[in-house]
Symmetry: C2
Subunit: 438 residues, 2 copies
């Protein structure tokens, strides 16, 4: 079921909505909800549900009007706050809206608490979390919102839960797109591209319609590069440069494997690029990476290991982890999302860079245009980035980059119907899903 | 199976050990491990396992000597670091050892990443994580260690995984005791007290033998008050004042419920005490709590709600959360553990206090001595605390405190065989496990 179908089917099921918020929305009475709507003219569709038996005030007229959607503020976060009115919060920055899809999943269960604690955006940045789930996960979303309440994070001032991306992305300054359909039994990568592509096309349209024009989008749901491409193609009002596909976990794992091989702590590894697709064709670049400031090949003399084993080590990490731990790597994935955000909002250390899957137009490496390709980036800390120019290539690196490039071009042909570029032709040669990912 | 049995049965199963660390310990060759042991004279039992096919050095003699235990440093954390030798780390504090039991569980899966990120102890406090698991969870522990590697936390300098508390608690400055046996079907609270009591008696003995004499212990595993009592009784060398039973999640939930009822943000609620046991007899104290600096009863006029509904709201939270979310509240529990630690290492704000289950000897409230009872505390931020004197009581509060006190005294009689006080007599009147807890 696509997101559009999900949300339309939901709109008929409102009895659940008023029942499900029984536990916590007891203070969303008519007066407060009206106030909320008045004060948030740009987000008028946000409605507050009412649990009548929990409220002392008179029965609420709003209840008889059928709300337009299932989006709702949650519990204590339905209050409005004047942060400029109080001594402790007057020096705080303006509230930012951070939208997260797949919000009831395990990666989000780590990430949301990091966002709310101030660990990501800093101790003076109040935050509104807009949580996107599915009909099936809606109760779990409420559970997440309850745990956020119970955590008493001072910076967390709004929580909205919804199954409608048009609600959740309203005025979003960050959109962290984690939710994606897992691959069912027997499903080919082409099938996965199609089913998730539809979700990301819909979400791109929603971002285009209601998000902040400068929204930064990080796509985590797989296949993330092509999902990001579909998303940006459906959001023409938003600069393509604002879309990222997460390859930071790959970068982190690559740094760790080089550190292990070299017998150094991982903070000694820098300039690590992941080139291309977040798939088994990805290229962890040991030619440009450095250890203690020296080229990797000068430190690790075992070049056979670099060429034949290193990449596999990085890629198999997720699979090994599932074997051992029985679950996918939600905690380290969420750490890598935090790293990716921080890399865009803090200046990149002198001489270093980070990897992100970004729109390839205008790249200086001769990589095909009009795909989302992981490349080395630097940021001034303003949310934007520039591509790094001083990287070197050799035949080995070039050949591998061409392979991942070819794959991304094939994936693109596979989703032409979702990017407005005609009829899809799917000729994906092999399954390149990373082990341990869904 | 008690911990003693667990660890002895494990010592016979060493083939698993060398196989299981295949993935990451490739740099623990003989030279490095020797160095590690030389440099850590107080922790000589820590051994590094070897994956011979991953190491370029000569076959390793240590492998043929049977190691004494299954404790091992993990992967990149087997290196030793001289933090004083490098510019970025020379101003850092001395490494602290933090031991965590139940380290492969869901609460730890949130908590460990918070500890490693610097969110708890600060950005200049390097940390060693000593992870205690069970034989059954050992592979999962490796998974946790792998994700910690992949997260590249600069402050995390050592990770040791083990099933032996004598290894894990070596020189521990903090011991966060999360692991406990869940209650099996049909098990009475008395049975749970006994089975977990044995674990905590063993862990108390281990702390007594090898931990830092000033170790701070926070018991999370249920029944946590009596587990903490058993633990401290088995650790006579450690001040009883250093043991805490976690009631911070209850405190946080109580604050949130008062905020919801009063229609204020949760940061306006202060002076919240949880009295007594972490069970349904616990007493969230609305007599002394304040909202915007005013007594709660002056702000919330619905005293019937305070007396008849508020406590149940707080206690049922965990159960409601399981219904909605399908899982217990690992994320907010780990946030509350962080809060509990921070409350001991940062000065308590003027006029406020926090709750912790602490040893009752010398309390100024007339509560029975020699039990672990949640009470209002203040700290200078030195890891220690003092009990708050200026609290008031009324008949309602007194009566409820007496009930939770009676329960803790009954629980104590129930575990007399584990505290060295003779023959246990179990007369627990009813099941007082909090909903949603195991």
């Amino acid at each position: 079921m696509g997101v559009a179908e999900l949300s339309s089917s939901l709109k008929t099921d409102l009895s659940l909505s008023s029942k499900a918020i029984f536990q916590s929305n007891r203070f969303c009475d008519r007066r407060r909800c009206s106030f909320l709507q008045l004060s948030r003219t740009r987000s008028a569709r946000v409605t507050c549900s009412i649990a009548p038996n929990e409220v002392e005030a008179a029965p609420v007229a709003a209840k008889t009007e059928e709300p337009k959607s299932k989006s709702e503020c949650y519990g204590v976060f339905c209050l409005t706050y004047d942060l400029k009115a109080e001594e402790e919060t007057t020096s705080w920055k303006k509230l930012i809206n951070v939208a997260v899809s797949g919000a009831a999943g395990m990666i989000s269960n780590h990430l949301l608490f990091k966002l709310a604690s101030g660990e990501v955006f800093g101790p003076d940045q109040p935050i509104a979390l807009k949580l996107l789930g599915s009909e099936r996960s809606f109760q779990a979303l409420e559970g997440v919102a309850m745990e956020l309440e119970d955590s008493l994070f001072p910076l967390l001032r709004e929580v909205v839960i919804s199954i409608d991306p048009y609600e959740v992305f309203q005025d979003a300054e960050w959109a962290l797109l984690i939710g994606a359909k897992p691959r069912g039994p027997g499903m080919e990568r082409a099938g996965l591209l199609d089913i998730n592509g539809q979700i990301f096309a819909e979400q791109g349209k929603a971002l285009n319609a209601v998000a902040s024009p400068n929204v930064k989008v990080i796509v985590v749901g797989n296949p993330c590069n092509t999902n990001a491409l579909i998303c940006l193609k459906n959001a023409p009002k938003i600069s393509a440069k604002n879309f990222h596909a997460l390859t930071r976990l790959d970068e982190n794992r690559a740094k760790c494997q080089l550190a292990l091989k070299a017998g150094v702590f991982y903070d000694k590894v820098s300039n690590m690029t992941i080139w291309g697709n977040h798939s088994t064709t990805q290229v962890p670049d040991f030619l440009n990476a450095r250890i203690n400031g020296l080229p990797v090949k000068e430190v690790i003399k075992d070049h056979r290991w670099l060429e034949e084993e290193f990449t596999e080590k990085v890629q198999k990490r997720g699979g090994v982890l599932i074997e051992k731990w029985g679950r996918s790597s939600a905690a380290s994935t969420s750490v890598s999302i935090v790293d990716a955000i921080r890399s865009l909002i803090t200046p990149t250390p002198e001489g270093d860079w980070f990897s992100s899957g970004v729109y390839s137009n205008g790249n200086p490496y001769g990589i095909a245009e009009d795909i989302v390709f992981s490349m080395p980036c630097r940021s001034k800390g303003d949310g934007d980035y520039e591509l790094v120019k001083d990287v070197i290539f050799d035949d080995y690196l070039r050949k591998r980059i061409e392979k991942t490039e070819a794959e991304l071009l094939a994936e693109k042909r596979c989703v032409a119907h979702l990017t407005g570029e005609g009829i899809a032709v799917c000729d994906l040669p092999e399954d390149t899903m990373l082990p341990g990912e869904m």
